[in-house]
């Protein structure tokens, strides 16, 4: 049971009410959405921010130096929260928990190859792959909380030699994310 507000094709808005304490919204006939009984912003498929970016060229960091990866080309950025021009960072303006993904292809790999997820300018999570082979694939995935105002995420890379570089194509190195749930 529920109280229902419906947008009809003949009578404008109609409503039916009961004492269930549950509110549902409907467009036309059927297609009911139940409004959650929690405080927050209702998000539905279609308005939850998502982005994906890659590097337009290879990047060559210096040895033993955490270097921000310059993801300067967007594949998509539904809410324009990713800065692919200046800071190469994701700053969502909706508070919540975001799935953050990054994969980097380093060539050739060094003895130590690190990928770092930075939050607000500081190392937050990192993964290391050992071994100098032709290609090193670095991946980091994490569900990260953002406060919706000032929190931001960036990706950094570090290896222990000068020889390597990061492959700058959409195929090999990407940074992506999307909102899983609001705060």
């Amino acid at each position: 049971m529920a109280s229902i507000i419906t947008a009809t094709t003949t009578s404008g808005l109609t409503q039916s009410a009961d004492n269930s304490g549950v509110l549902q919204l409907a467009s036309g006939t059927g297609n009911l959405v139940t409004v959650p009984s929690v405080t927050g912003t209702a998000m539905v498929s279609g308005n939850m921010p998502a982005f994906s970016a890659y590097m337009s060229a290879d990047q060559t960091p210096t040895a033993n130096t955490w270097t921000k990866v310059t993801f300067n080309t967007e594949e998509y950025d539904t809410a324009s929260y990713f800065d692919a021009t200046t800071n190469y960072r994701f700053t969502p303006l909706i508070a919540g928990y975001y799935q953050i993904n990054c994969m980097l292809s380093a060539q050739p790999g060094a003895n130590t190859n690190d990928i770092g997820l930075y939050k607000n300018g500081s190392l937050f999570k990192f993964q290391r792959v050992l071994g100098a082979s032709n290609f090193i694939e670095l991946v980091i995935n994490y569900i990260m909380y953002f406060n919706g105002t000032t929190d931001y995420a960036e990706m950094y890379f570090r290896s222990n030699t000068n020889a390597g570089y990061i492959n700058g194509t959409s195929t090999y190195s990407t940074f992506s994310g999307c909102l899983l749930r609001t705060a």
Binding site: Q59, W66, T86, N111
Partner: protein, 53 residues
């Protein structure tokens, strides 16, 4: 010569492990180049700007 190479020239005893723990070099890809983000070495003092010039 990179910042890392300059520091290694000043302190040849430093190892990769030092740069993994007590020393952090960073580059924010903002055109300002590499810099020392953290220097917490227990015995060696942070190099001066003059030494790194």
């Amino acid at each position: 010569m990179t910042l890392y190479e300059k520091i290694k020239t000043i302190y040849s005893s430093l190892t990769d492990a030092d740069f993994d723990t007590v020393i952090t070099l960073q580059n924010d890809s903002d055109g300002k180049g590499d810099y020392i983000a953290k220097w917490e070495h227990p015995t060696l003092p942070r190099p001066t700007d003059e030494e790194l010039a």
